[in-house]
Symmetry: C2
């Protein structure tokens, strides 16, 4: 039985229908279904992500930031797939204590990101739960037919590039928890900046792409594994923000967080030497910094070097603190 | 930070990747994104539904039935939209106490319904939650370009038809709770039977369609409201199963559950008199019984009649017991 809190229809009409009004296929959210019009030349790229209060974001996070985080982790994956985002489905599981004020803030956050990324709400579901607030977004993008980017296309000899700076997400989590002090890093953790402007420009340029959500070593490793290759990363080439550089210099153990933590939402990009100029041009056009940090080779696994010498890489993927 | 239980990759590889192997765009679930190929002649119809343990299904429900329910409530909506289902995204929020045995049963349930409905897993997300098990499905179907069905197309003079029998879902919930005794009704509640075979045949035939998830009066009312009409329903024409007829005869107060409860996952269909023969032919082809139970007229609201006399309709939508 779909037991819906009294007022679900009003809640949708007041806060969510306005977010869908420019998308004809959403039927003003009065329809159960969303209709996405056919497009002969472009495939759909689809990504689903779930975030849970107290697990994927701080339990007392502002509703605007919860909305932004839920959307942006999906948009980051679409960017890695080369997708131009255009719509999303939203499932909202609200604790029984939900307030209209919280919903209003959440809807404001969605509206701001709709403008920022050119997306629109196409449909979804709202339920109540005895558990924590849980948000599932399924985001839709478009890519030229059969040219979507995956982790699986890297070749031996490809260079590994990364966008922006690495480690700010993981250090930002430490900042959010009061372990270190940096409002810039904390903001970076709370509000990811997906590379939506660059992603579509990588189609036909990159041979494989992933976003840095599990950590640089893990996500570069995912490309290597899916492409049946090894990847070598030179630590001194990994681009750090000024704040990250300062914390790592003072406390070198934090390199484990920088390389092994996640939540950067940068892109790791495999590119053949002959496409390198095209990558740099795409990055300039998107106003995104890219840095070469390594190379794909025959073999298996992730190798980290410091001053040319291989070191034991920190454990891949999420590191518990 | 995406904190994933150790073993998420193994869990996906073992239980979910096999469910995606016939869908090339899923990339064996190794890719973050799913790619749905373009189709020039058909639009995509999309529906998202979330079910929460202890709210939308019994907390100790078998995992096979949880899988079936989560999928089928979505497929029911796609059927109402005229969609031919073909793929779905799955988000699974697992309580920290999850067992591999539970996952295996859940995956078996998904696999059985994939065969039954011709669908395949295209992607998704798995997280752990301190709250109850929560499943969000976003299902994809295809409809001829710009011919998807909505609630909004009924016209004054259209007849209202309903598929199958009504009230078994709500009475089945009473049976599942031990309030009445009927294994047939209980099964009907636990395992919805969406009208996926009929839905696509209604394109070009029905003027408006909804599925009966909130209750017959509520869902017929949704069509009336979206079409800016009134609807009159003759109670004696509402088709009941033999079991439902027996309970209602013994305890007429249960009519409120039959007409006001939900979870039937039948379709309510508005059809113009000149398309009525086509509807009956479509129903025969799909081997689904359809019954005329009312009429759309100018005006507003839902009117229930008994032996031609209007009565106060039970409260619309979900009725708490």
């Amino acid at each position: 039985m779909r037991r819906r809190r009294i007022g679900e229809f009003e809640l949708i009409a007041r806060y969510f229908a306005p977010l869908a009004k420019s998308f004809p296929g959403a039927g003003g959210l009065l329809s159960d279904n969303a209709f996405l019009p056919s497009d002969a030349r472009r495939d759909l790229v689809v990504k689903t992500d779930t975030v849970v209060a107290g697990v994927h974001f701080l339990a007392d996070e502002k509703p605007e930031l919860v909305a932004a985080k839920a959307l942006r982790v999906c948009l980051s994956d679409l960017a890695a797939g080369g997708g131009e985002p255009f719509a999303y489905q939203l499932s909202l599981s609200l604790p029984t204590s939900w307030s209209e004020r919280w919903i209003a803030g959440f809807a404001r956050g969605l509206a701001a990101d709709q403008r920022r990324y050119g997306i629109v709400l196409s449909g979804g579901d709202t339920v109540t739960t005895p558990g924590p607030l849980t948000v599932t977004v399924t985001a839709f993008g478009r890519v030229p037919h059969e040219r979507g980017l995956t982790r699986g296309g890297a070749r031996a000899g490809d260079r590994l590039f990364v966008t922006g700076t690495i480690g700010d997400g993981a250090l930002g989590l430490l900042a959010a928890r009061g372990r270190i002090s940096s409002s810039a890093l904390e903001k970076r953790y709370r509000l990811p900046q997906p590379r939506s402007g660059l992603g579509p420009r990588l189609v036909g340029v990159a041979s494989a792409v992933a976003d840095v959500s599990d950590g640089l070593l893990a996500d570069a490793g995912h490309i290597a594994e899916a492409s049946r290759l090894a990847v070598r990363i030179e630590r001194e080439r990994v681009p750090l923000s000024a704040a990250a550089r300062r914390f790592v210099a003072a406390e070198p153990v934090l390199w484990a967080n920088v390389l092994g933590g996640g939540d950067d939402y940068e892109l790791v990009i495999a590119v053949s030497p002959r496409k390198q100029a095209a990558l740099l041009a795409a990055a300039r056009a998107a106003k995104v910094k890219v840095t070469a940090i390594g190379t794909f080779t025959r073999g298996k696994g992730v190798e980290l070097t410091i001053a040319g010498r291989p070191v034991r890489a920190p454990r891949k993927g999420y590191v518990h603190f």
